[in-house]
Subunit: 360 residues, 2 copies
């Protein structure tokens, strides 16, 4: 099989961790007789600098011609003073999601055994571990709802945004959450604010309707404010969390932080045809860029998600995940995952990539 991959490494640590993902992908290609072609495109801050906008037409075209997008990370202090709408993160990610209708965002977050001390949670809570999959709707809700804008003048000037969800939009993301739960611990927690939002009342109704097709999966509803709290006390009780766009943004970040190891988390954003964008959960980390110390695991696991979801190469995806699991189990870690007294054992970005590629 032969595949075209659009590689958008971006800013900060993006290029250096992407190099390690490519290394691991090469190992996988060799072992599973895959043929992958890579085309690199500018995105984010570097695209602003070189072409004047965070998502140049050539990049969008390159993505359209590919089977999947492997995304690094974008943003940095250099572009922080731009108006929010023109900044690298917003200016690149939202149009990509909208253009390719990447409505389905999967954000798995697991507290790896042996890394419990990384979690900001109290030791008796983190000792129980947790493994949550956040399924976030990514092209609807208040992110894209119209009308959105400003009107009026002086003190009366007002801004407005519209949160909007159709039955169709809710049903398709709910279905994905239930299907995912079947392959996991068979529980879906649907997050809403049905005591305040009309969208949430419809959300709850449609989720219940979809649930009838999955009698083997347990469904519970929780308000977003309560979800934020319960995740702190008993994260191990959650399996799949089904969220609208805004609530998923907030909750997936909370869960990611609860693992304490953002450098290990990858995410997938897909459309109905299986085309997708795969990226690390962490940011571009400009403070450590170029130092060779960034953790490439999230980027490597993004490549695994790409193989699984867009390229349907489950065996290759699983091989990458096993290789990463081996590295972590062997205590082969970058510095941010080590306590001060073990910091001397820290592996570099390149060493991590080499080790994982070799384990394939």
């Amino acid at each position: 099989m032969s595949y075209q991959i659009a590689v958008l490494a971006g800013d900060g640590i993006g290029p250096e961790v992407m190099a390690e993902a490519r290394k691991v992908l090469s190992a996988v290609e060799a072992r599973f007789a895959l043929e992958m072609e890579y085309a690199e495109f500018d995105v984010g801050g570097i695209a602003i600098d070189k072409h004047g906008c965070p998502l140049p037409a050539a990049t969008l075209q390159g993505c359209a011609a590919a089977d999947a997008i492997l995304f690094g990370s974008v943003g940095g202090p250099k572009w922080e003073k731009l108006p929010p709408n023109e900044q690298p993160e917003r200016g690149a990610l939202l149009p990509l999601r909208g253009h390719f209708e990447l409505f389905c965002n999967l954000r798995p977050a697991k507290l790896h055994s042996g890394l419990e001390h990384m979690s900001p949670l109290r030791s008796d809570i983190s000792a129980r571990g947790f493994d949550v999959l956040c399924v976030r709707e990514l092209t609807g809700g208040i992110y894209f709802g119209k009308p959105k804008g400003r009107q009026g003048e002086g003190e009366d000037e007002e801004a407005f945004d519209t949160m909007r969800y159709s039955r169709r939009e809710i049903a398709r993301i709910a279905r994905i959450a239930f299907e995912a739960a079947r392959g996991r611990r068979k529980k879906v927690t649907s997050v809403d604010k049905a005591n305040v939002l009309a969208c949430s009342v419809l959300w709850r109704q449609v989720v219940e309707e979809v649930a009838r097709d999955f009698p083997d999966v347990e469904l519970e509803h929780i308000y977003i404010d309560n979800a934020t709290m319960q995740l702190l006390r008993r994260p191990h009780e959650f399996d799949v969390m089904l969220c609208s766009n805004l609530f998923g943004d907030i909750l997936s970040d909370e869960i990611a932080m609860l693992t304490g190891s953002m450098g290990l988390l990858a995410s997938a954003s897909m459309n109905a045809g299986g085309f997708g964008l795969f990226e690390p959960a962490g940011g571009s980390a400009p403070d450590i860029a170029g130092k060779g110390i960034a953790n490439p695991v999230a980027q490597i696991l993004s490549a695994a998600l790409m193989l699984r979801h867009s390229l349907k190469q489950e065996a290759a995806a699983a091989a990458i995940e096993r290789a990463v699991g081996k590295a972590l189990a062997d205590g082969y870690l970058t510095g941010e995952l080590l306590s001060a007294e073990h910091r001397a054992d820290a592996k570099t970005t390149t060493q991590m990539g080499d080790y994982i590629a070799k384990a394939i």
Copy 2:
């Protein structure tokens, strides 16, 4: 001075903790020569049972005739199957906020020294303590914005909510946050999602304009998703957090849970005239209602906030807070704040009230 207080004890533990707050208020009346008259009204589930709706007209009239509302808590399993709009919490709190234009919600949350073990945070993080005041806008944004509803049919049926903020609404709540910061650690963190929401872009602008009148207060902006994360890592770095209605709902609950002692947290909801509703942050806790073990401190501190903000009796408010501080410092605690091996020392609801009243 003589004051009229509307007492809305509500459901669950509401009536029993309210009795202790009344006891403490009596002690304060005697010591500070205040004259308080109390009128009790039904609210929440008990009002549904007795009058068919969670906020009967008589209750609303009673509140309108008073100088302040002392609120207990509402809700319980009995009313959970009602449509969200008719449930006790939503059906009582939102109309009260809307009717009296209680736009300013203050939710202080502090990790008390000696109670660090209650926090779900890792011990090295909780050891640093924290003291955050969440200033939440309470009558605008997506809670009350119009249009809100449903349209269309079949798969295309959609629901919509409108987030809406005017310069006036933003400026008046921002001003309160900056004024509060002046009496604290002089830092305001304004929470928004300016990379996605038009409302947040205006919010940020207006907050910066208001900030010019407070050159002695530091201002920083943070995205809601990032705020959710940073509170887990470094809560001690936040002082006043300024939030819109929805973001404040989410963030104030996260912060409350980070203290691990919801039974100690009170909140104030006020209008421009200083009239307000004062209530504990925790819920009606139906599981422990009637057992005499509920912590009355949050209700007692709600009375202190009422004295300070609506009745302008700072000395009396401070006396209550000092008395509560003494009880906690003396290790005089209800069971939920004690570890298993000290549970035998737990004080009852009544004992707590007596002790605090005596310390006035």
